[in-house]
Symmetry: C2
Subunit: 357 residues, 2 copies
Amino acid sequence: MGIQLTTELCQAFNIRYPIFLAGMAGIPGVKLAAAVSNAGGLGTLGAAYMTPEAIRKAVHEMRELTQAPFGVNLFSTRLTDDNTRVDEAQRELNKIRDQLGIAQALEGGVSTPNHFAEQFAVLLEERVPVISTAFGLLPESCLQQAKAAGIRIVTMVTTVKEAMLAEQAGCDAIVAQGSEAGGHRGTFDISEHPMGANIGAMALIPQIVDRVRIPVVAAGGIMDGRGLVAALALGAQGVQMGTRFLTALESGAHEAYKDALLNSTEESTVITKAFSGRPARGIVNAFIEHWHDSGVEPLPFPTQNTITRDIRNAAAEQSNAAYMSLWAGQGTRMLTNRQKAEEILAEIVGQANAILG
Amino acid sequence: MGIQLTTELCQAFNIRYPIFLAGMAGIPGVKLAAAVSNAGGLGTLGAAYMTPEAIRKAVHEMRELTQAPFGVNLFSTRLTDDNTRVDEAQRELNKIRDQLGIAQALEGGVSTPNHFAEQFAVLLEERVPVISTAFGLLPESCLQQAKAAGIRIVTMVTTVKEAMLAEQAGCDAIVAQGSEAGGHRGTFDISEHPMGANIGAMALIPQIVDRVRIPVVAAGGIMDGRGLVAALALGAQGVQMGTRFLTALESGAHEAYKDALLNSTEESTVITKAFSGRPARGIVNAFIEHWHDSGVEPLPFPTQNTITRDIRNAAAEQSNAAYMSLWAGQGTRMLTNRQKAEEILAEIVGQANAILG
């Protein structure tokens, strides 16, 4: 039969190439997502941390920049703050605030706003082409509304069990996230897997493909045409790439973050809960080391994320990568610098075609 | 150009298919290794824990069973016992010994015999076709003797840096071990990576291929023809498979171990030092849970391995998988039961050819 680059996924999502941009929350990404969509992939806005108003604005901007399909990514998980140990955590973070010269945290708990219903409502009103989620399935009522509106639904999974749940719920495709992937682990229930279910893509993809009929999009450590062909050989119908596009010309990632990515190797990353309370893969830096050395258990998501935000923001303002979250996958030696997204896609497809001969 | 199953690796190692059997120490493996070699792969004896006499006997048996090339695998690492906390560790293990109804450990340190020089001398005398090592390079003098004797040298690596060291040392090929792999992590220096360098194969293989010129053999989570084609797409010239062959008809693995493998999923394994003092991936069982819950830090390799041996042996005699080391990779849903090694190889190659069309 042979491996074909134009898969059913391309038809189902109306895209030229079976390449999704990962939704990367916290990184300004309209230009990058639009560029990926214009180049024939599926650009994705990482909207999880955006207000509903900001999402609407970004979707409008997307539509000015591209006629092609695109996705919007949200976190689908309960967002209840757990402030039982917040003062202990803040004491530790205040040492870092001292180093950055920013204000100490006040005593007492935090309250993370939960915008999910409004975020979703905007996506539904705007009839965005694709909604993707991490950390869990869309709530059933949302999923039905979205499907009724003709919106394609994608869920990120990290195990066979999660993949089967996503198929049963009616998702149009799943992203199977290997342990190599940068950023948050998509694992639904981290009480079961405290540091995420971390199955390497080489093992995860075929085991999922064997048990679901919807298209599987492979993620984790895929950086070029070799990774694309490998994913297709394993039975995936496409790939999702985040890290590769972080250093693209259109990427909104901080320059200090891009430098850290370009100077990293396959040995540079760890999976940590220090930034957000959920396990995520990033380049080891002073923040992670400080937190791990403290011995303080991170607060659960989203509370840890909320209490570390001022530090990450201040570090970004100071261009100090030591205290920013430097999400990265394990393939960073394959990064290229300041390539246009269009060139990256063309290079990946060209290399894949050359391998397929 | 297209992907070819017959690679330079096949020529260099005089094998029909670019498929190595992993050297699996502690599992009786002459029949399995001979069957893999006879079927066109490279069978490997896991000889690390064998006495020099036992190795010589096994090599002679191999030569009676096959005319084809085969490899013998050793651990290349310093073997100095560290008994500073041995009584603390034995106290914990004595609780398990009670449960198994076996004798308590005597007080005082252990002394692990270091057979490496004699093991290597046998392989040199016997002119085995291939010597492969885990945990590090062959010592330089050994490497030169082996090469002078026409023996091919293979080293397992887990990072780009290790791969470059292996190439510089003059190895004929490297096995790039992804984090998915079962059994011991091949990482050279575990003071640098206490739980091993755990890079998923999807990211590790191409990054190594980009930096060495010797053939790269991909390992980790590869279970069938899909994994073989994926590895070749990533730039490897072959694959090494261990887990897939553990449930083969010729496998010497304990029946209780085989049952545990066949009942496991991609979520079943962890990387633990509990059995040997070196990080290794295996199926979570009561032994691992007991040890982790104890909070006692495992003694360094080989001391932890030596003090847990009576427990593992007793558990095997009692067919009690709860206290055996159940090394396994992350792809165990793809296992088949009691297939002949020859059928496994034919199935892998047939599937790979079908994918390549």
